[in-house]
């Protein structure tokens, strides 16, 4: 094993980590590292071990074998956790308290001033509801309150478990904007999600889990290379002229006709350029060419399979 250079030591380093409950392997000999300031998405079926992995990193539970280091320390109940924040998948705050009271409680535990509470409540857009009881909050408001507590004390590491489930599209966008702001100040972000289409453009790397094992991890491009999935090419033509496209394709290429002016076909990454050259030689009639690289959900199904949890 090569010992990493001190300056490049990953912020989170897991080595051969296993965690099992009774007869169930929640996490199985998993090795993974995340650098400081990086954002990583954990994706996998329900029960693939995402939440257990987050708990291990938070030090809420200990691995049966293997080692975990977060910022050079073994995470545990006693370690300094002022710089780590968490947003659980399901959290229902006591309803009889107001939003302000709750965030103040968490701020006091983290030794943060009350002024920060107001600032964060404003950031997540809850200023008007601070003195209302949490039981009157909508799901989105509760989730934003959860986000506000996670941002207390400018944490170095934020772990988010399914953060956008139940948020409407505009809130999701706002949510990711806030997360991106954190990232720009060097915060490391771990996000577990099923919302693949919305995270794919917002994270640096992806780790796909299946039954507690790490199937693959890397950037989206690395995953695409490894998957070797075909690129989709969609060509629009003038109405009724799609044969001019299908004629220049290799005869064995299966193509799908959307309607009388749009045709789509799969193309291997290596052949993409020559296919495009052929298309560009079509003298007239082509109005648009779209190249669609495999998306995260396709990559996910390729690596993790379509099966559901057992």
């Amino acid at each position: 094993m090569v010992i990493a250079d001190q300056t490049k030591e990953p912020f989170i380093a897991l080595q051969n980590v296993s965690k099992h409950y009774r007869n169930h392997h929640a996490v199985d000999s998993l090795s993974l590292s995340v650098n400081k300031g990086e954002s990583l998405a954990l994706i996998g079926h329900n029960g693939a071990g995402k939440t257990t992995l987050l708990k291990l990193i938070l030090g809420l539970t200990r691995p049966n074998t293997g080692s975990i280091k977060v910022n050079g320390e073994v995470p545990s109940q006693t370690s300094d956790r002022k710089s780590i924040a968490f947003l659980p998948e399901i959290v229902s705050f006591p309803g009889s308290m107001t939003g302000k009271e709750l965030i103040t409680f968490y701020a006091r535990l983290k030794n943060r001033p009350e002024s920060e509470c107001n600032k964060l409540l404003e950031l997540v857009g809850l200023t008007d509801a601070v003195s209302k009881k949490v039981e009157t909050y909508s799901k989105g408001m509760r989730q934003r309150l959860g986000l506000a507590q996670a941002l207390l004390g400018e944490p170095e590491l934020i772990l988010l478990d399914e953060p956008t489930s139940g948020l409407d599209p505009s809130l999701r966008k706002k949510f990711y904007n806030i997360i991106e702001d954190c990232k720009s100040t060097g915060t490391t972000i771990l996000i577990s999600s099923h919302a693949l289409s919305e995270i794919e453009t917002r994270i640096d790397r992806v780790a796909i889990l299946k039954r507690g094992r790490l199937v693959i991890h890397g950037s989206l491009d690395e995953l695409r290379t490894a998957a070797d999935l075909p690129v989709q090419i969609r060509v629009s033509t003038l109405s009724g002229q799609t044969p001019i496209v299908s004629d220049v394709l290799k005869p064995e290429t299966p193509w799908r006709k959307f309607n009388d002016h749009c045709i789509e076909f799969d193309c291997h990454q290596d052949e993409k350029l020559s296919v495009l050259q052929n298309l560009s030689r079509i003298p007239s009639g082509v109005t648009d060419i779209e190249i669609l690289p495999p998306r995260l959900d396709e990559l996910y199904i390729h690596f993790a399979g379509e099966e559901n949890e057992s």
């Binding site: 409950y21 708990k55 938070l58 809420l60 539970t61 109940q77 006693t78 300094d80 956790r81 002022k82 780590i84 924040a85 968490f86 947003l87 659980p88 998948e89 399901i90 959290v91 229902s92 705050f93 006591p94 009889s96 308290m97 009271e101 409680f105 968490y106 006091r108 535990l109 983290k110 030794n111 009881k133 959860g146 507590q149």
Partner: protein
């Protein structure tokens, strides 16, 4: 120290917000007031004064009510937070697990203290205006309030023990109710039955004393009903064993042990609990 205080304050705040505090005060106040008014109707000439009679009635009431209030405050403490998901979140904050238990304990104890001292204290005002009771009787009344709080503390700790062991809130509710029924009702019935059936007197007074020490509610009862000669007279308990095993100091020490064991056991089990 600070996380404990933050936790305790949050519990008190929540207790006020969800009306637990006001409900407990009112419950104790209304019942204590009705007992006082009942006790003040002339029932013939006794050597005991009104204050002592009231105190004895309040003791009998507290034996049932205080454990119930304490258990209802406490059974939810860990398992409830666990079900709501707030426990997972709380544990990621700079607070240790023992601090959570101790903080919650201080918070719940304060709620109970407010309820007992306001509920029973306001009733005592009635006697102040009527100028009844000797200094010794007043001391007895104060000791009754203090020991009621201690009894409550024991049952808060027992509630936590239930709360850290079980995985579901509903289970905790059930176990707490059974615990309450057993300690304050069935234990004495079983003991009484055994004494009645025991024709050959196998159960000596020493053994009886020990059996009583094994039940915190009985310990509390004995402390308040035999603590002074007057209350013993008023309660008709003056005949019970005068052995050293059941001296007031022993009784209070026993209650403290009854508090510490479940409290420390709760912390120990909570440390081991998977979240």
């Amino acid at each position: 120290m600070k996380p404990i205080l933050v936790m305790a304050l949050a519990e008190i705040q929540e207790g006020i917000r969800n009306r637990w505090v006001i409900a407990s005060i009112l419950l104790l106040l209304v019942l204590a007031a009705s007992l006082t008014l009942l006790g003040s109707t002339p029932v013939g000439i006794t050597k005991a004064s009104l204050l002592s009679v009231t105190m004895v009635s309040l003791t009998s009431l507290s034996i049932y009510l205080i454990p119930l209030i304490a258990l209802m405050l406490a059974f939810d403490a860990i398992v409830g937070e666990s079900e709501r998901g707030t426990l997972l979140l709380l544990l990621t904050y700079p607070i240790r697990r023992w601090q959570i238990i101790i903080g919650k304990f201080l918070g719940h104890l304060s709620i109970l203290a407010i309820a007992i001292f306001l509920g029973y204290g306001l009733v005592a005002l009635y006697f102040v205006f009527d100028d009844v009771g000797t200094a010794q009787e007043w001391l007895g009344y104060l000791l009754m309030m203090g020991s009621s709080l201690l009894l409550g503390a024991v049952f808060i700790a027992l509630g936590y023990l239930v709360s850290v062991i079980v995985q579901q809130r509903a289970t905790a509710t059930g176990i707490s109710l059974v615990l309450w029924l057993f300690i304050v009702v069935f234990y004495d019935l079983i003991l009484l039955g055994a004494l009645l059936a025991d024709k050959s007197h196998i159960i000596q007074s020493k053994l009886l004393a020990v059996l009583i020490l094994f039940n915190p509610a009985d310990v509390y009862r004995l402390f308040n009903l035999t603590g002074s000669d007057i209350s013993a007279l008023a309660s008709g308990m003056s005949g019970i064993t005068q052995s050293d095993l059941l001296s007031p100091v022993t009784l209070i020490m026993t209650l403290i042990i009854w508090l510490l064991i479940p409290l420390m056991l709760s912390i120990y089990i909570f440390q081991k609990r998977e979240v």
